[in-house]
C-alpha cells in the first residue's frame, strides 16, 4: 500500500493525464508508446504521492516525469537493433500524409504570411538564411528574426521572450 498523498490526489493526477498524453504525443509523434508512458506517469505519481508537497506544481511534476520517460524511450528506440532512423522522421513515417498536412496547417495558422514563407523555405525546402534573404529581398538579420518568431509562435508563445 502506497503512502497516501494529499486529499483527492489520485483524482487530480487523473485530471492531468489528458494533458500528459497530449504532451507525449507531441514529443514522440504517433508512437504506440504514448499510452504506455502516460500510464507509467500515472503509476509513478501514485507511488510517490506520499512525498508530494502540496505547494508543488502537480502539472510540472507530471510533465517533467513524462519528459524524462519520453527521452528514455527515445534513446532506447534509437539504440534498438534495426533502428534505421530516429524520430521525428520515424514517427512521421507512421503518420498518414493527410495527418501530417493537417497537423502542419493547424500549426502554421497563427503565423503571418512572411513568417510562414521563411519557416517553410528554411525547414521544408532546406534553403539557407542567405538564400531566403536574397529571394525575399530582406536583410539576413530580418529573415532570422522572422524565423525565430515563427518558431516561438509554433510553440504558442505570443510575446517576445
Amino acid at each position: 500500500m502506497e503512502p497516501r498523498g494529499p486529499e483527492g490526489f489520485p483524482e487530480r493526477v487523473a485530471g492531468q493525464l489528458p494533458r500528459v498524453r497530449a504532451f507525449l504525443a507531441k514529443l514522440l509523434g504517433p508512437d504506440d508508446a504514448v499510452e504506455d508512458l502516460t500510464q507509467e506517469v500515472w503509476v509513478r505519481a501514485i507511488r510517490s504521492q506520499g512525498s508530494f508537497r502540496e505547494n508543488g506544481s502537480l502539472p510540472g511534476w507530471l510533465l517533467r516525469t513524462a519528459f524524462r520517460l519520453a527521452l528514455d524511450h527515445r534513446d532506447r528506440r534509437a539504440r534498438a537493433p534495426g533502428a534505421l532512423e530516429t524520430e521525428p522522421a520515424a514517427a512521421g513515417a507512421r503518420a498518414s500524409a493527410a495527418e501530417v498536412r493537417e497537423e502542419l496547417a493547424r500549426a502554421l495558422e497563427p503565423l503571418s504570411s512572411v513568417e510562414r514563407d521563411v519557416l517553410l523555405r528554411f525547414h521544408q525546402r532546406g534553403e539557407s538564411i542567405r538564400e531566403i534573404a536574397r529571394a525575399l529581398g530582406l536583410p539576413e538579420g530580418t529573415v532570422k528574426s522572422y524565423l525565430h518568431r515563427a518558431r516561438r509562435r509554433l510553440g504558442g508563445v505570443q510575446e517576445e521572450p
Partner: protein, 148 residues
C-alpha cells in the same frame, strides 16, 4: 520560457539539429516550467511536420515502384535467378538460362528517381533491354510458359 533557452533552441534548429540530441539542452528542458515544456514540444512537432517532404500521391509512382520492385525481386528469387553476392542480374547476364527448356518468362520493371526511370526487361534469364527514359508510372509484367 527564458529567452536564453529559446536562443539555445534556435541555435540547434538553425543547424537543423534536434535539441533533444544535445545533452545540455535536454537538461535545461528538464528544469523548464510545464508551459515551456509544452511550448517546446509543440514547436518541435510542428517543425518536424514542416521538415517532412510532401507525401507522394496515394496511387502514384512511388507506390507502383515499391510494388514492382518487390514483385520483381520476389519473382527473381522464386525463379532462382542470381548468385550469392552477385546481384540478381549477374547470373542472367553471364550465365546460361537457369531453367533451360523448362521455363520461359519475361519481366519488365521500372525504377524511378529524380525524374528519370530505368526500364529493364529480362527475358529467359537474360537482360533483354535496359534503358533510361521518363515514365509516368512503374509497372511489372511477366508471363511464363512451360516448354512443350
Amino acid at each position: 520560457m527564458s529567452g536564453a533557452l529559446w536562443d539555445r533552441l534556435h541555435e540547434a534548429w538553425d543547424r537543423r539539429a534536434d535539441p533533444l540530441d544535445d545533452p545540455a539542452l535536454r537538461a535545461a528542458l528538464e528544469g523548464a516550467d510545464p508551459a515551456d515544456l509544452e511550448a517546446f514540444a509543440r514547436a518541435r512537432a510542428a517543425l518536424g511536420a514542416a521538415a517532412r517532404p510532401p507525401a507522394a500521391p496515394a496511387h502514384g509512382p512511388r507506390r507502383g515502384l515499391l510494388f514492382a520492385t518487390a514483385a520483381a525481386a520476389a519473382l527473381l528469387i522464386a525463379l532462382g535467378i542470381g548468385e550469392k553476392g552477385s546481384g540478381p542480374f549477374s547470373a542472367a547476364e553471364k550465365g546460361p538460362d537457369p531453367f533451360p527448356q523448362v521455363l520461359r518468362y519475361r519481366i519488365e520493371y521500372s525504377t524511378k528517381g529524380l525524374g528519370r526511370s530505368e526500364t529493364t526487361v529480362i527475358e529467359n534469364g537474360r537482360v533483354f533491354r535496359s534503358r533510361t527514359h521518363a515514365v509516368a508510372d512503374a509497372r511489372i509484367e511477366w508471363s511464363e510458359r512451360r516448354s512443350e
